[in-house]
């Protein structure tokens, strides 16, 4: 019984990791950039969600929408200002820019909102449903439904729509896509918008589950989501989802059965092992660099 409970705990936090991991993996798939500012986009999304609920008194679904739209725009703006001019520069320059952007956003949040944690109002009931000794809170259910729902939507969008098809084309070959009449700049913007919106969704759900919003809240979940994306195979969308869930469950079981202090060590240890055995990640394609 305790094992099932630990699985549920893991799936809850794992679904949030998966949502954030999607942003990393989509951006990487398109522009081959690890967007280290993604954790901060998630943090700012959580702040916007907090203001929408706590200050403007919006209902939860509307607040979620506001946060996602805000983050989508923020993601697009960041890409235009900071990454686009470096698109043809060495990849390391863009990476350093991303780290700089991450610190910049953290410090802006620190100046604007102060270092004290803000308390997210309890918008979703944490009352538990009892199922034969196992507790599932409404919050866990809502989180799971939203996370899986948006993942299915994303999958449909990429497989069934013209823009989705264009995204896949750009990720394969940018030059050839341009020749086929695809507006690569627009596709990159769309990718950043979707990834950032999903990050904001993850951020708001994270803030509801652990109701303390502060400027550094994006660091750990961002890092873990990045690990999830690499674990699943960076660039692979199903891989990011799988990686997120695996990471969450692994963390929960380590805390539950070994020790809370070991959880990060075990999680990152497994990452190293997976990458030693399968360097491209669990679902990553084994591509050779063409010279």
């Amino acid at each position: 019984m305790q094992f099932i409970q630990q699985l549920i705990n893991g799936v809850h936090v794992g679904s949030i990791y998966a949502l954030i991991a999607l942003g990393y993996t989509m951006v990487y798939g398109i522009v081959k950039l690890i967007n280290f500012a993604h954790g901060e986009i998630m943090m700012l999304g959580a702040y916007v969600g907090f203001f929408a609920i706590g200050l403007w008194g919006l209902p939860f679904p509307l607040a979620l929408l506001v946060a996602m739209v805000f983050s989508a725009l923020l993601g697009v703006v960041i890409e235009r200002i900071a990454y686009k001019p470096l698109r043809n520069a060495p990849r390391i320059s863009a990476l350093i820019t991303a780290i700089g952007m991450s610190l910049l956003l953290q410090n802006i949040a620190l100046v604007l909102f102060g270092p004290d944690p803000q308390k997210m109002p309890a918008v979703i009931s944490k009352e538990a449903i009892h199922l034969g000794g196992v507790q599932i809170s409404y919050l866990t259910i809502v989180t799971l439904v939203l996370a899986v729902g948006f993942m299915i939507l994303l999958e449909l969008f990429i497989k069934r729509t013209k823009t989705g098809k264009a995204m896949r084309a750009v990720s394969q070959d940018k030059a050839a896509s341009t020749l086929m009449g695809i507006d690569v700049n627009r596709i990159i913007s769309v990718t950043f918008a979707i990834g950032s919106a999903l990050g904001a969704l993850g951020g708001v759900l994270y803030a509801v589950a652990y109701p303390q919003i502060e400027p550094y809240m994006g660091i750990m979940p961002g890092l873990k989501a990045f690990v999830a994306a690499v674990l699943g195979g960076i660039g692979s969308i199903p891989g990011a989802m799988l990686g997120g869930f695996i990471l969450g469950i692994m963390e929960s079981l380590t805390k539950g059965y070994i020790s809370s202090q070991w959880s990060d060590a075990v999680v990152f240890g497994v990452l190293i092992l997976v990458l030693l055995i399968k360097p491209s990640g669990l679902l990553g394609k084994n591509t050779r660099e063409k010279v």
């Binding site: 705990n9 936090v13 589950a209 109701p211 303390q212 539950g256 809370s260």
Partner: protein, 377 residues
């Protein structure tokens, strides 16, 4: 007969002269030095203590000062920094010529000042430094706050005797001395009393926000009481997730909980925690202090202010009792302290740590209420 009369007359004359002579030599004020971090990272604590010390001195001066002299308070800001503390203390002793010292506020800076105070022989009392190593540094060093192990012991006895708990779970922050200290002393005391510790789980505070996995382990053991010795931000996360998992154990905690109602509500309803003082304590001196503090600063006093006030009062009473500012006499008077303070009735043990009651706060209908005062047995 004649002889006796002569002796009497002589002694009266001598007394009169010695009185005059003494007054002419000593300075006209009593100088109290204080160091607090009124700016910087820990300014919140420093300001709370500093304001209260100033209030205590102001009250004492209004009541006629000490030994019929005015009290002069000389305060410096150390920004919570060790080097600044050393400089400030040296300045207080060498340039300002202080008689007694009140400070510092946080443990690290207080620990740095303590050996200097021993060297110069200045009687010293800290309001809030909890580190164990501080008072054993010297005979002339005291503190007004209870120390961490004492708190753990009282909470263990409270759980066993008042809450009739047989089984207690403990979750603590392995990255924090305060949290592990309370957890260890609680565990030792509760087990000595014949109770069972069902869970003794460490977590990494700060970065970790998901405690549901370890709380699931706690739930499986179904303890009567769950002891959470951490600061209020983490406590609120723990309490809310415990509630989410349907844990029904009574939650208890230490003085780090002070302020928990600012960040959570229902999750800590019915919880108990140790505190230095209670704002709703009906005692006359407590209410008088709260009213005066609010009038003076416009803010509600917290535990830090209450301890600051008590530290200053204890030191000033000791000077009064000693009848002089002679260090040895003041230290002797401090050792014999028997003072009814805002934070309880205070006496000192051989190490200069206070022996006093702990106020247990019960969170009832979303408000901190005084449940009772308890002493270690």
């Amino acid at each position: 007969m004649k002889k006796t009369a002569l002796v009497l007359v002589l002694s009266i004359v001598l007394l009169a002269f010695s009185g005059c002579g003494g007054a002419a030599e000593e300075s006209t004020t009593i100088k109290i030095g204080t160091i607090a971090p009124t700016t910087g990272q820990v300014a919140v604590y420093g300001q709370a203590v500093d304001q209260a010390v100033r209030l205590a001195v102001k009250n004492m001066n209004a009541a006629g000062g000490l030994l019929e002299k005015e009290i002069e308070l000389i305060g410096y800001d150390n920004k919570g920094d060790i080097t600044e503390s050393v400089n400030a203390f040296n300045r207080l002793v060498d340039n300002d010529g202080i008689d007694v010292f009140i400070g510092a506020v946080i443990s690290s800076t207080t620990l740095t000042i303590a050996p200097l105070a021993v060297e110069s022989g200045i009687p010293m009392i800290s309001a809030t430094a909890t580190n164990l190593e501080i008072t054993p540094v010297g005979d002339n060093i005291f503190r007004a706050c209870f120390i961490d192990p004492y708190q753990g012991v009282v909470m263990a006895q409270f759980a066993a005797e008042e809450l009739k708990a047989k089984r207690v779970g403990i979750l603590f922050n392995t990255a924090d001395d305060y949290s592990t200290g309370l957890a260890d002393s609680f565990k030792a005391e509760f087990e000595a009393a014949g109770g069972t510790i069902t869970n003794f789980e460490g977590y990494t505070g700060g970065s970790d926000k998901d405690f549901k996995s370890i709380l699931t382990k706690v739930k499986a053991e179904a303890p009567d009481v769950l002891f959470l010795p951490d600061y209020y931000n983490t406590v609120s996360l723990l309490a809310e997730q415990a509630k989410e998992l349907g844990i029904e154990a009574t939650l208890i905690g230490g003085d780090g909980w002070d302020g928990v109602l600012g960040v959570t509500d229902e999750a800590v309803e019915g919880a108990y925690y140790a505190s230095h003082f209670a704002k709703d304590d009906p005692a006359e001196n407590v209410q008088k202090f709260i009213a005066e503090f609010e009038a003076e600063t416009g803010e509600t006093p917290n535990s830090f202010s209450a301890l600051g006030y008590d530290a200053a009062m204890i030191m000033m009473e000791a000077v009064q009792t000693a009848g002089s500012t002679d260090s040895a006499a003041v230290v002797e008077a401090l050792k014999g302290t028997d003072y009814e303070g805002i934070t309880g009735h205070i006496q000192f043990d051989a190490d200069g740590n206070p022996v006093k009651s702990i106020s247990i706060i019960l969170v009832k209908d979303g408000v901190d209420t005084l449940y009772g005062k308890f002493d270690a047995k």
